[in-house]
Symmetry: C2
Subunit: 443 residues, 2 copies
Amino acid sequence: MAKLKNISGFPEWLPAQKIVEDRLLETIRRVYGSFGFSPIETRSVEPVSTLAAKGVDKEIYVVQRLHAAESDDAGLALHFDLTVPFARYVAQNFNELVFPFKRYQIQKSWRGERPQKGRFREFYQCDIDIVARDVLPLSADAEAVTVMDQVFRTIAVGRHVIRLNNRKILLGIYSSLGLREEERRQAITAVDKISKIGREGVLKELQDGMGLDLAVAEKIADLAEIKVSASEAEYILSKLEIDDRLFEDGRREMLALLELLPAETGKCVQFDLSLARGLDYYTGVIVEFVFEDHPEFGTVAAGGRYDDLASQFINKKLPGVGMSFGLTRFLDMAFEHGLFPLEEKCPSQILVTVYREEDRAECNRIAQVLRDHGLCAEVFLSSPKLGKQIDYADARGIPQILFFDAQKNKIEVKDLRTKEQAYVPDLEKWASAQAARSSNKRV
Amino acid sequence: MAKLKNISGFPEWLPAQKIVEDRLLETIRRVYGSFGFSPIETRSVEPVSTLAAKGVDKEIYVVQRLHAAESDDAGLALHFDLTVPFARYVAQNFNELVFPFKRYQIQKSWRGERPQKGRFREFYQCDIDIVARDVLPLSADAEAVTVMDQVFRTIAVGRHVIRLNNRKILLGIYSSLGLREEERRQAITAVDKISKIGREGVLKELQDGMGLDLAVAEKIADLAEIKVSASEAEYILSKLEIDDRLFEDGRREMLALLELLPAETGKCVQFDLSLARGLDYYTGVIVEFVFEDHPEFGTVAAGGRYDDLASQFINKKLPGVGMSFGLTRFLDMAFEHGLFPLEEKCPSQILVTVYREEDRAECNRIAQVLRDHGLCAEVFLSSPKLGKQIDYADARGIPQILFFDAQKNKIEVKDLRTKEQAYVPDLEKWASAQAARSSNKRV
């Protein structure tokens, strides 16, 4: 008999969990769409050469036919994020797309990482990006932050913090401290780890790893401890007294961005000088979404501004800003912390019981009336004692049970939550009232 | 610069096509859920050994880390259908699931087939299955057919035909003609090809390939030409005068199934003795959904009854019935035949134009009011001449444009389809009317 086991890093949910995942996917899709982002989906594979060029530190999964005779699909691999495929898609369909191109993309990605808690080898990412030809206004960065803020508000499982910074601010500061270009990048990588290795760890990297003077290293570490609300950002930035053009650009962008955010979004913002985002390609605004009361969730969504999306593929300048919600990791944590109730094991809102097999056709018709009103209704597939049918509803988490008495042509519905049973004189009327109630309930 | 090319068999859609795909996915999900099927999703990979055991004639895609140092994920491959993973999932979560277990599963599968028109190496399948412990009543088969019928009715792109047969009828007939067990299976494989190779081709396989007598081969070919409506099935089956127990079981099942189907579903049924479904594991009812006016679409959905889902994994008898809708292939054909309009390139229903940058905050607020009413609204990201903003809406297929005049604090909306422009005195009221209209329009 074949072995049954989980494959580390490839999560699978039970139906009740999958129902939660589907609701979240639907919510995220709806919010992204409501801001006018177009859906796209790319193939799961790209040429290895494309991925390997970008896949620093990422383990790539190569795909090969088991009985590979020809070489036509040699060199394919599963994508490890949605950014590289998106860049290729934009370049490939350049003449078909309207710019600025706003797209969302919700798909699985795969990384052959060493599996450990909270790391997945197969996972859903929910990305938005806005790319423009040549110039992309800062209103796009504000929109990307606003959209993600809206996602967190809609999911509504806890207060979120929007950590904001700007690469130009960091690079300007480091430049004013006399760091050379390569050193500035190394400093970003070091500061990025502050939440993991602490101030001492960062100092060590800056001094021992990079050979910076203690005074410079301490200045960098000091600055990385600045975290203020949106309303204090202007004051803090002026107090830094950095004389550097890039810093000045970053300062102006940060303040303009804060102006552009809706007031309620701004209230969640923390201007955080320790935020560096390790990945290389960001050039301006950088953002992370975390939960105020659940720091152990880590970064749930993140993104930023980049100068050039697709220079690997096309000779056009395409600046963009993107944001990614890491759904699988979030869900794993959320299930562990019991953030979602898992009572529903199936979508059914009503079980239509079958008292005698000869009533089945009528029971099917009743269920279809309910469905036609937008309700989820299932008919019990055999006709054992009603107690057994009620047990089934209970086990599946179906809240209501319908009884049809063929002899009296009478319908009754029992609510398993309240234990109340009521006669239903007009099925259509009842169904439409139920549907209105349930569409109000489900966000 | 990296090469840009399609990878044969890995389709990708433009945004307007993806919007259609997403609507279909949503429709299918809704219909499946409305009958109480629970969603599940399995990991994309299974052990090669599991897949190879079932993967007759299927090309398996092996997955391997590019820099494979350890052997921990050696022997993984992408699933080629959703049935094997489903069987494994049921066995693995046996004690967590409620039986009969009704599940739907909508995911991509991968097959390393030789690419040709209409064959995909990466494709969406939309499956439902009902599995029970030990015994599964025929009402489950009827439900599976009804659900799929409902999917076709909801998609509503053309009249569909539900081709129905029963493996027991075929095996019973072949048995009564003196075929041995192995020959019966070969005959099914031969008859299955009749639409491709014609009567002559089938005769040739039965005679030359299997060594059957001309008379027996002709009898089999004759029967394979019987296609009647549901109402004629009983008469035809009685006229065949086959004296065989299995045939008799199949006959009774067929008639009972037709009784169990809703009247409107029954009207689409064609009892078709040529329907054999090549795959080995079906043991009872077999079904194919085709379009009456689009035979070139081939089989769009198909399925049937099987005796044992998961004996490969667990020592339990789990009979089931399943149905699969081949979404990617259907979409490819549908786009080619222009069955869906492709005017919408983004979800936006309204573009909020921005006359001056200083009005942007107010424009954002206006758009959020529209979103809060369930509408999709986007704000133009810069503030060039209005003509340019209108061109953008036009190119993206956004039907309505909102103008905000900050000085007069006045909102007007222009409909690009009717060219009518109207003053909007009360935005909330207008938004809620629009939302009601658009939710009526979208099924």
